[in-house]
Each structure stands twice: as C-alpha cells, then as structure tokens.
Amino acid sequence: MLAAVAALPDDVARVALDLPLRANLSALDNIALIPLYQSHFDATESTRQAQAMLERLGFAGIAPLRDPDMTPAQRFATQLARALILQRPRLVIDRPGAMLYDVPYPAFIRQLAEQAAMTGTWEIYDFSWNQPLYNQALDSE
C-alpha cells in the first residue's frame, strides 16, 4: 500500500516525510516557488500568494523560518501549504504520524483543514493501528 501511495498519479498533491522542504529556503520561498515556476507569476505576486496561504492556515509568523528552525507542526503546515498551492484536485497526507510526532495530529489536521477551507478531497493514509486516534477526533474526512 505504501508503494501505491508513492506511485500516485500527477494530479495528486502529496504531503509526506520523503518530500521535504528545500532546506536553504525560508518557508515563504518554499511555497512561493510553486506559483513562480508553474504559473509564471512574478516574484512579488508569488510571495503574496504564499503569504496568503500561510495566513489562511494560521501560520503567518513562520514565513522567514527555514526548515531546521521549525517545529514539526510548523514544518507540516509549510509542507501542507506547498501542497495546497499546487491546486490539485486530490491531497494525500502520507503517514502524518511520522511528521507530527509531538502533537495529537488527527485533531491538528482537522483544524488545519477547516481553516484552509479548500475544495477537493483530503485523504490521509496511515498505519491501521493508529485508527483509534482518528475515531476520537474526527470522522473519515
């Protein structure tokens, strides 16, 4: 099943441990790369969009931080913002437990999902023994 997650088609945005942020760029620049290189917006517009995305997730303050300076939650939020700004119809979160090891992550993800208020499906793939955690926090999303 894990191999299947890695081999998902192109129209799926993934948040996963094996897709890290670019280490020498700030959170904002990491996100701004996507509009800059995919939609060919100019630097100002890309940065504005990235900042807006971070604000929507409630993490506006982490914009200048780089990967090693972030907490796991901040890092996850940045990766999520990067995946969201890709604007692909499906979003797959691959084993969030590995990335969010110091927060009750099902509730955290649910909170982020509410703030993002994006169209499209979010799918979470996780180990089956973590199922009880989700049952406490949310129904299948």
Partner: protein, 265 residues
C-alpha cells in the same frame, strides 16, 4: 594468468567508469545548453533572480578577498619577473612577460582554483545533500524544474564569475605592472601600449574569454554532476565531494594545458 585477467578487468572497469562520468557530464551540459537555447519560458524574472543570487555568492561576496589575493600574487610575480629581467639585461621584455604570464595564464588559472575551492565544493556538497535528503524528488513532485531552478543559474553564475573575476584581476595586474615598471608617470604609456597591442589581438582575447568560460563551466558543472551521482546515503556525501573536486582539478589543469598547447605549439 588470473592476475593478468584481473588487472585487465580492473582497467576495463576504470575506463568504463571514466567514460560514464564523462558521458554524464557532457549529457548534462547538453541538456542545460539545449534548455537554455530552446526553452523561451526559462528567460524569466525568477531564473534571473536566482542567477543574480548565484553571482552574488560566487563573486561579489568574496570580491575584496579575491582582489587582495590577486594584488599580492601579481605584485610578487611582477617583482620577480622585473628583477630577473634586470639581472639578465632583458628589461624590454619584462612588460610582455608580465602580461603573458600573469594576465593570460596565471590569474585565470588561480581564479578558477579559487572559485573551485570556495563555490565548487559548496555546490557539490549542497547538491549531494539535496539528492540524499530527497529535496530534488520533492521539487520534482511540485513540478519545479531543478535544472532551471537550481542548476542552470549555478552554471551561468560560475561562468560569469570566473570571466569577471579573472578580468578584474588581469586589469589590476596590468595596472600594477605599469606602476612597477614605469612608476607614477605617463612616460611609459606609449611603449606599454605598443607591447599591449602586440600581445592582445583578436585571437588572444577570444581565447582568453573562452578559456575563462570553460573554467567557469568546469568549476560548477562537474560538482553538480558529481552531487547528482551521490547514492542516497548520508555517508556518501564526503565521498561525492572528494570525487567531484578531484575531477574539477583535473579538468582545470586539462583546460590550461590545452590552451597553452593551442597558443604556443
């Protein structure tokens, strides 16, 4: 007999290895050049900004250190050439000798070594770490082309930096040579201009710029390909840097030797 077979086999493995490396480098270069020439979309503000950043890190940041170093080296070499020329009564050849040795050969070579040591090793390590950390895969997943975003700006930055720094160091050496030979007067301007005109013809200028461009390419292209070859294991990063820098050194020496051979043979 077994020993002989084993030696031949290991030689064959080495030659194949060299060919693979060489092929990898040239294939990468061809890809970069084709992209640069054919894909109009990369000529945008974003690429330009990254190029500027690379030029800043490879040349502007170290400009004062580099010029100081060029000054000391030039001053030493000019003094040695002048005193030797005086000892042998060949003063009239001193300015020509200075220009040929310093401006055309030594300073471009030292500039390339300088950039290779400082930026080449940094690039090699960075690309190797990106490769090991999956950062390149992440970029690929986000459809951010690493060639355009990471590699091409480094190549362009390297070429620009080596040409500019070697040029600046050369100008500094010319000035220093003039001051050492004729002092603070305009008296030597005419003979110096004559010597200068005699040495710098179109071929020499084109050769000098081409050589600097090749140096710039060698000190960035080879570390990038060496970094990309790194297996996804953290302990392989130093090995990758070691191999990359070794290749850079050989490439720089080879370029210098070929340029000398073309010029004087």
């Amino acid at each position: 007999m077994n020993f002989l077979a084993a030696s031949i086999e290991s030689l064959g493995a080495k030659v194949t290895g060299w060919f693979t490396v060489g092929y990898g480098i040239f294939a990468f270069l061809a890809k970069a050049v084709l992209l640069l020439l054919l894909d109009r979309t990369i000529w945008n503000r974003a690429t330009f900004d990254v190029v500027i950043k690379q030029v800043y890190f490879t040349s502007v940041q170290i400009l004062h250190v580099f010029l100081g170093y060029a000054l000391v080296i030039s001053w030493l070499i000019i003094t040695i050439i002048l005193s030797t020329a005086r000892d042998f009564g060949l003063t009239e050849f001193a300015s020509e000798m200075t220009i040929r040795v310093l401006v055309l050969e030594l300073l471009p070579f030292l500039t390339a070594l300088f950039i290779a040591l400082r930026s080449g090793s940094a690039i090699n390590t960075e690309i190797a770490l990106m490769q090991v950390n999956n950062e390149l895969d992440a970029l690929a997943h986000c459809k951010v082309p690493p060639m355009q975003f990471e590699f091409l700006p480094r190549l362009i930055g390297g070429v620009i930096s080596v040409i500019t720094l070697a040029g600046l160091a050369g100008l500094l050496a010319l000035l220093l040579a003039y001051l050492s030979i004729y002092g603070l007067s305009m008296a030597g301007f005419e003979p110096f201009t004559q010597t200068f005109a005699k040495i710098f013809n179109l071929q020499i200028m084109a050769g000098l710029i081409a050589k600097c461009a090749l140096f710039g390419l060698a000190v960035t292209l080879i570390p990038i390909t060496a970094g990309l070859e790194t297996p996804k294991k953290l302990f392989m990063v130093p090995v990758s840097v070691l191999r990359g820098m070794m290749r850079v050194f050989f490439a720089i020496v080879a370029i210098e030797v070929v340029s000398l051979a073309l010029k004087y043979i």
